[in-house]
């Protein structure tokens, strides 16, 4: 079994217009820049994107939004050092936003991956973000019912992979990547290194290969924060 895909372009080629796409990362750490840029080149439009943020500067997710490819964003925090791309488009009505508390976002994604269609959380009870959602009392406390989130594709960034798709991550770049890997029909990971089966200790695998459909080698991946400090623009 070898899940290797030669290039980011090939990896994203089957993402159709209208797809729901989870994109890993928190701020710049863990954002799969090369896969996002390949998706820009590929040109799929009318996407629903799930990410914690709304991009920063003019690379990565911000660039994807800037190209007009994203119809709706599901995220917790669409602010950043330079959120101009999203802000302008949102205020002009050019993009829809579903705002979700960060822990609820992570848990909804995990629920999607774990076959849990709904769960209850204390988060957002009594606030505007709970409007229209069922509530229930358990042990004298009120909770909000939240639904799972799934996607057609997940584009994630990992550090090391074996051909079976077992993954490790790098520091805080782990963030949403492992739960998104679970929640998409097709999960594609860009990885810094592909090693032989057995070269990753089974004890330290973070994402078992069963959650991963394709791995794309990207040897020296770009980092969003670094690109933005260089004022990079894509394309």
């Amino acid at each position: 079994m070898d899940k290797t895909i030669a290039t980011p372009a090939e990896a994203v080629a089957r993402i159709p217009d209208g797809a729901t796409v989870m994109i890993g990362g928190f701020g710049g750490s863990g954002a799969p820049i090369e896969l996002i840029h390949a998706l820009i080149d590929h040109g799929a439009r009318n996407l629903t994107v799930i990410n914690n943020n709304a991009g920063n500067g003019h690379v990565g997710l911000a660039a994807l939004i800037e190209q007009g490819q994203v119809a709706k964003l599901i995220c917790s925090f669409p602010r950043s050092a330079d959120p101009k791309v999203f802000t302008d488009l949102y205020l002009s009505g050019g993009i829809a936003l579903e705002l979700v508390p960060q822990g609820t976002l992570a848990e909804r994604i995990r629920a999607g991956g774990a076959g849990i269609p709904a769960f209850y959380t204390p988060t957002s009870y009594g606030t505007d973000l709970a409007e229209g959602k069922p509530v229930a009392e358990f042990d004298g406390r009120m909770y909000v019912q939240e639904r799972w989130l799934k996607a057609d594709f997940a584009l994630i960034k990992a550090e090391e992979a074996d051909p079976l798709g077992n993954l490790t991550y790098r520091m805080a770049a782990r963030n949403f990547n492992p739960v998104m890997a679970m929640a998409a029909r097709v999960t594609i990971a860009q990885v810094s290194r592909i090693v032989a089966p057995g070269a990753i200790d089974p004890e330290v695998v973070v994402t078992p290969g069963i959650f991963v459909d394709g791995i794309v080698p990207v040897e020296n991946p770009q980092q969003e924060e670094v690109l933005n400090r260089q004022e990079a623009v894509y394309p």
């Binding site: 774990a114 076959g115 074996d162 077992n166 089966p197 057995g198 990753i200 089974p202």
Partner: protein, 226 residues
């Protein structure tokens, strides 16, 4: 001719089921007789086996005396690892199951109904009930198959219109490999796909508790001596 003379052994039923598992499939095999399926993977195909207690890509049993009892499967039998294995905790393991990440789950059965209902966890007779992961597995895999003798030891049918024993899951089974036949479950009916050549359709129907439909061709069920 009695059924006992011609019906397949457990190993042969497992062999037949193994032929349907694609290369690279993620598979969970139920405790006991379904575990034999792993031995019969066709040349050139390699499935990846999952066990509920947190191991992916395990291999054969170790030689006697070389067991490490921290490395076991859900049946508490010692296993070994293949290159590219992974360990994970029980909640992650059942996220794989319940989240639909397995391609195939293969389970034993007391009874299967033409609706796909499965009864395989309780004989309903009292004693100590035990369910394990069966109720999770039947709702997890993309394809849930059953391995079973076609009838009970007393000759009573196990393929029925409705299960009479406590259910493991509702409408979950899609294919049944028995000691006499291969039967799909489609639209609330048993659809016969293969039967032992020595057996007429009428003979088979006589030991089956619900109608066997034949909307398509019925192939011969041919397995090697094992």
């Amino acid at each position: 001719m009695t059924l006992g003379d011609i019906q397949l052994s457990n190993a042969q039923i497992a062999w037949r089921a193994a032929q349907d598992i694609e290369d690279g499939a993620y598979v969970n095999l139920g405790i006991g007789f379904p575990e034999m399926v792993a031995k019969f993977q066709p040349e050139g195909r390699e499935a990846i086996f999952h066990t509920e207690n947190g191991v992916l890509n395990f291999g054969r049993a170790p030689a006697a005396g070389e067991e490490d009892w921290d490395l076991i499967n859900a049946g508490k039998k010692a296993i070994t690892l293949k290159p590219g294995a992974a360990f994970f905790h029980h909640a992650d393991s059942f996220a794989m199951v319940r989240g639909g990440h397995l391609d195939v789950a293969i389970l034993g059965a007391y009874q299967v109904a033409q609706t796909g209902d499965l009864a395989n966890w309780s004989t309903g007779k009292g004693g100590v009930p035990a369910v394990g992961g069966a109720m999770d597995l039947v709702h997890g895999a993309k394809r849930v198959a059953v391995l079973t003798d076609h009838t009970t030891k007393k000759g009573e049918p196990k393929l029925l219109e409705t299960c009479t024993l406590p259910l493991t899951g509702v409408g979950c089974v899609t294919r049944v490999y028995t000691s006499l036949a291969v039967v799909d479950i489609e639209g609330g009916r048993f659809v016969l796909r293969e039967k032992l050549p020595a057996l007429s359709l009428a003979d088979l129907q006589a030991v089956t508790g619900a109608e066997l439909t034949t909307p398509g061709p019925v192939a011969d069920l041919i397995v090697p001596n094992l």
